[in-house]
Symmetry: C2
Subunit: 382 residues, 2 copies
Amino acid sequence: MNKLHHHRAQFPALANKVYFNYGGQGPMAQGAMDAITVAMKYIQDIGPFGNEAYRWISPQMQASREAIASLLNVPSDTITLTGNVTVGCNIAMWGIEWQAGDHLLLSDCEHPGVIATAQEIARRFGIEVTTCPIMATLNGGDPVSIIADHLLPQTRLVVLSHVLWNTGQVLPIDKIVAVCRSNNSRLLIDAAQSVGVLPLDLTALGVDFYAFTGHKWLCGPAGVGGLYVHPEARESLHPTYIGLNGVTTNTQAQPTGWQADGRRYEVSTLSTPLYISLTQAIAIHEQWGTAEERYQQILYNSEYLWQQLNSLPHVKCLKNSPPESGLVSFQVTDQPSFKLVQSLEAQNILTRTIANPNCIRVSVHYLTLASEIDQLIAAISN
Amino acid sequence: MNKLHHHRAQFPALANKVYFNYGGQGPMAQGAMDAITVAMKYIQDIGPFGNEAYRWISPQMQASREAIASLLNVPSDTITLTGNVTVGCNIAMWGIEWQAGDHLLLSDCEHPGVIATAQEIARRFGIEVTTCPIMATLNGGDPVSIIADHLLPQTRLVVLSHVLWNTGQVLPIDKIVAVCRSNNSRLLIDAAQSVGVLPLDLTALGVDFYAFTGHKWLCGPAGVGGLYVHPEARESLHPTYIGLNGVTTNTQAQPTGWQADGRRYEVSTLSTPLYISLTQAIAIHEQWGTAEERYQQILYNSEYLWQQLNSLPHVKCLKNSPPESGLVSFQVTDQPSFKLVQSLEAQNILTRTIANPNCIRVSVHYLTLASEIDQLIAAISN
């Protein structure tokens, strides 16, 4: 049994199916699940509520912030723990002190939750939201110049995905940071499909806000995620949903200000066992290889899948060149996408449809086997 | 072994300590913890992401909404699932379309997270926040007339706790609803200390917003809670943090509107296993007795504790008459409160201090034994 087979054996979900939905939700290692069971039991043993429990829980939450921070190459005090990527996006989007007439720029490949948030902010504060056409740059054209062309003097915030969830395109965030900075616009990145895929150095990247989830490519439990806020952006990003976790209090339990670090955007009671599980999930990936090694394996797998798909009749990959992420999207010309996805699921091969552009999205992780890709290709050919 | 001893044996946290922090966090039944482990495993078995997983997860979340709704005697479509009580308060507080000059009224016994939220809303929207003195009505005086006296023509929202977290006083919400309604003011109740304690009928009560948590008196896991929104208040309460769970989308994955029910205030991925655990926790309480029976047992226990405390020198209960909830707060005159709490914790008796008024808070549930109260009293006397 080679190293990858040995490593994969930790993930029960991978044992009874051919799994290509990492971009929807990642499978959990048994060790990451056991961490929840063990932590729950231990918290009951020492508490659940009291000084001893607090003394144990508090460093566990800090360890989770540190594991995340290490992955992003940022100080741990820049990390806010959230329930999912969308909450992180909302913290950044609502936290800007919007004035009527301000402008918010989205791409045309953002997630419906982010679009709906932008629309509601527009309604509440009288700001303008526009959308720039990035989808069409998948096989040519320059997303950076398109974004630059859509910036206005009053653009306060630009919201983009690092890896587009529909086409898998990777945006050149470093260049986009420069363009936004020169326009005095903040940049929020929806990192749902990049954290756990791309090797990241947010300190070098210089992005203002980076929202991510633990339950997709990191293979942590559903219900955990986070937000990175650049230290220089913190003072101007106001907390919106607020609770005891984010404030300082005086001896009369009256709020006196915000926590100095990323906790200021946290609200109240979180599930400690879930965050311990995320810490464990990150550690399990590190056991297999570095972030760079995992990314190279993802690229190896996604290129192999892309090549095999290209060899099939009635299949058209959206991308004309090898993928840059773990997402490989394609269209079939001989049947509706949802029919093929259903038929694959009936064969225990899990993929998903995407509405816009209408396609099937296959996610490959470093955990994916060539033999799984072969099974998918064989199933599509039939 | 009597019925209560038998029932208590399901709660591992109660086996190795004398527990009086139900108002901080409730102990979990082994069955409620096992539900998490089993659900995690099953989700890996069928998914974690795909049509089959979705078909299983979606009714589980609905079952949790229904278990909560049944407890509150409301239709399940009025329930929004949240991570904790503070998030529920924030949804209601931010969701009002505030205009400069509007007024928000708090009591002087609200939780610091709620106070800080009110202050930030005041800063953002130019509204006025005032506080009415309810704490002083613990042993006399009429909280209803005090609230009525503090309502202004422009009072849009009143935020009060049903059971005051510091003194344990139960506010007469039915009368307060009438006063607020006649002033056209919405009423948000912080139900952190009432759900799982008081028998509730929110339909009869007519309150606008009722925010609660699953991890205190309901003995569910940390990280689950909810918000009730009166059907007639829904259309005027706007979603703030927004995600895919709360919106409807068209065939192009563009948002087209809000979910018709309480899901409109939900954001995105929640932990299904935690909500299944909450459903189980609620069912376990029902096995012991009805909400009314549990409340009567809580009153029996809190009165016994209150009487015993009154018999001690150097101890002064804040309340002059028997408690109406599970919270019993008292002051000690021979040492600082925190010293006594520490000394009790060293003897495996868990209580907590409260900052304002400076006191020690003991929570008794229907699960509490008379012998535990006797142990506490003996430890304080020493």
